[in-house]
Symmetry: D2
Subunit: 274 residues, 4 copies
Amino acid sequence: MNRLEHTRVYKETNQESSIVRINGVQFGGGSFTVIAGPCALENSEQVLATARSVEKAGAKVLRGSIYKPRTSPYSFQGVGRQGLEFLKLVKCETNLLVETEILLPSQLEFLTEYVDILRIGSRNMDNFELLKEVGKCSVPIILKRNMSSTLEEFLLAAEYLLNAGNENVILCERGIRTFETYTRNTLDLMAVPALKELTHLPIIVDPSHGTGKRSLVLPASRAALAVGADGLIVEVHPNPDQAKSDGIQSLHPSEFATLMTELKSAAPIYHKTI
Amino acid sequence: MNRLEHTRVYKETNQESSIVRINGVQFGGGSFTVIAGPCALENSEQVLATARSVEKAGAKVLRGSIYKPRTSPYSFQGVGRQGLEFLKLVKCETNLLVETEILLPSQLEFLTEYVDILRIGSRNMDNFELLKEVGKCSVPIILKRNMSSTLEEFLLAAEYLLNAGNENVILCERGIRTFETYTRNTLDLMAVPALKELTHLPIIVDPSHGTGKRSLVLPASRAALAVGADGLIVEVHPNPDQAKSDGIQSLHPSEFATLMTELKSAAPIYHKTI
Amino acid sequence: MNRLEHTRVYKETNQESSIVRINGVQFGGGSFTVIAGPCALENSEQVLATARSVEKAGAKVLRGSIYKPRTSPYSFQGVGRQGLEFLKLVKCETNLLVETEILLPSQLEFLTEYVDILRIGSRNMDNFELLKEVGKCSVPIILKRNMSSTLEEFLLAAEYLLNAGNENVILCERGIRTFETYTRNTLDLMAVPALKELTHLPIIVDPSHGTGKRSLVLPASRAALAVGADGLIVEVHPNPDQAKSDGIQSLHPSEFATLMTELKSAAPIYHKTI
Amino acid sequence: MNRLEHTRVYKETNQESSIVRINGVQFGGGSFTVIAGPCALENSEQVLATARSVEKAGAKVLRGSIYKPRTSPYSFQGVGRQGLEFLKLVKCETNLLVETEILLPSQLEFLTEYVDILRIGSRNMDNFELLKEVGKCSVPIILKRNMSSTLEEFLLAAEYLLNAGNENVILCERGIRTFETYTRNTLDLMAVPALKELTHLPIIVDPSHGTGKRSLVLPASRAALAVGADGLIVEVHPNPDQAKSDGIQSLHPSEFATLMTELKSAAPIYHKTI
């Protein structure tokens, strides 16, 4: 394939970076935009408490899955469609945008009714049939990198979305699989500037899945800012030890507030606004 | 998770290996069963010519995808539903069973009408929504290992199928992703005996994707037999240099015949029948 | 680098495979030669008991390290130079050849006095200064692949030996590092036929380090024969549970005898003699 | 092994970080110390020109190898012992400290006479015999991580040095080997805060080998600062296109000056002084 001539995702010479704009929130163009919230939406109290705390700290979007792809069929699979009520509540009670993961083309219709950003998880990065269908909608999409995909494969997965008509694609680096066992994944921070050389799309980082350890989320987030990312997607839970999934890597709201304070003070150095 | 108590896929002490039986063809139980055919079905001439030659050489099942998940949206994506006609023709003109890849739950109804075995490709091994739906049908399923999945993740993906009701699952090792670039993948042959320690399900090997090189298909197949696999899935094309995909790793029919002759003479050593 | 013109290790068109001959034992040329013995030499009883049992079963060379490179400085580092007495004893009491690992150029003089084959361990594959010095001696050398080296890097490490004057080099595949944790390493069996395409040197397989599990040594050895290897290096210990290192992957002498019986009956299929 | 009780390298509860001090230059303790210079020392003009420019920009130590471990025996292997004259010249003409790589115990005596810091390269991280000998000297040591070592293996390699008596050890992350081919290695920036949780030793980052691409050295360096590293080791060459090795990843002196200016303005945010 001759990339430069035939693709929409690879950058042409002198091409400017794209900006994804959603109701006053933007990814790219000098913004460092933070998405935060629980791994999985559990109940309205958990969702609202998290939403209010992350909004106060400076997040612009609430994250939260209602469908959870899990390695074991016996692990918690998410609250399902009823979780849309929680997202509606967040939009009612706060100024946050909301995002959630889509697993099936058949979920497209009802998810796009309530959700500001759709997320395609790393296990679905190369579920090309899903990409083809989701690419037909106009809702912005976060595309997470598969844990063993090359940068080229990642970009060509995004190409499926752009080729289907949706140009509002935000790439997300979330850790790759290596031989290391101390961390859940090896967060490939250098993928951010490497991808910036190749594509015009905005890129965010997931420091929570990328490390799998609460204690490493803060340094990973600092580095994401320093390395040129356009934002973060961070797991925050009001009571991480009770979380139905990923508690071990979720920040307590007060830790998230500290993180945001730090990032705000560092952002100008990197010509970013939070 | 306590595997031994709660799963269907992990082997209990002294549990015998399962046998998947399909119209007189079996996977497991001392058979070494060979599936062969083109990567992608292209036209009736290609399909029939391949089918006749692989049947004559001793294959029991014709492989052939009508839907092709491809890294780039601009690569050949398969002939689509019309390809079912080619499979019907094969069943009419030969005694082969036929198998093909399923990408979407919505394909289940028409594929199961014509196809003897469904294949779930490596990129969909952790497409759990697909697994849940395909697991509801009664057609035997080949589940290919994701190129970066651990053995445990592979088995838990199979667990989705068994848990949904389908116990006719055949595991397929097809190469993992490593740092090596001489071969397309690193064929993890030792996964076969390792999986045999863990599960009762039959296991086959894909020497074509596993190596990506025609010249390595024969040694890989010999080793698969020696290491205890229950069969192979091999790419064969009447004119590999003209193949629309994977020509570089496809055997010419005469090479496939040589492979089968060799395997038949080695099989008794390993207490297998071909 | 233009390989074909400038190297000694890469195969030229139509070049025959090399044979390494040592006092009536040969690697390459249709032989399947088995090296066996303890990971580390511990005392004369252990060494002699192992030597006699592996000789009886058909091994031609006793393996045994007197220097052990260990991840931790507090792990057993080998019996050291005194272990040469054990090797002398083996040569006195049996017809076996003996091999051992060399760690330093300064060990060359006294090791070559007693030892028939020197082994360069995987951690020293890219210790180029060691290669340059060991390459100056005339004793045959087993060069183990580093656990993360590409085939090209492996061959260029062998090139250091050949370039220094020693052409009696035997390559050894011993497992690579991947994300899998069920086995100690991922034994890259396909490296054998891949290397056979590239080089004329003989290649053996280490099924013990390659799997790290006693139960997998037998299938790995079967596969090594099937895939075209010229021999094995297998860990055997008279009392594996008491071994000072690698007991978990060492065969009991009776298991080794069973392995050899199986290999002898399979060898003719692959045109090898044991 | 029970780490906390028996090792010198793992951090005990509440243990403070160590500081390595060398003639007024320090690693650790709030300093961000930059080592810069050519991959290989070539001639006095190249060395002096580089030394003066990096000193002016704020580097404290000149790097430069006189012995080069190379994958191929036919690649440039370094100028050898005569290169010590270049290092002497640098110490005469500038206020920089100098460091170089040691490959053999026999080089210890003459290298320690001229050199302020010894470097053990990634290929020698698990050359334990070298570690045992170098650990006996009192000169500070930079220990580079092997490209496929786990954090635990890296720390236990450092333990060899500490156990031999040398406590002035500086760890260096320089990229790990993954499936990605766009960059030379995958720089594991998160290893820095992960190691900070485990050990008291200072840690620096090599953005040049870690990325293999000049254009990525700046973002990698920014991220190293942000993630908590205690310094950098950067390749700089007065004429990168003419470099005898690693030119593609070497900065031009003016690029290095820009990098230093940026780092100096960002350092206070991370409570570091340059």
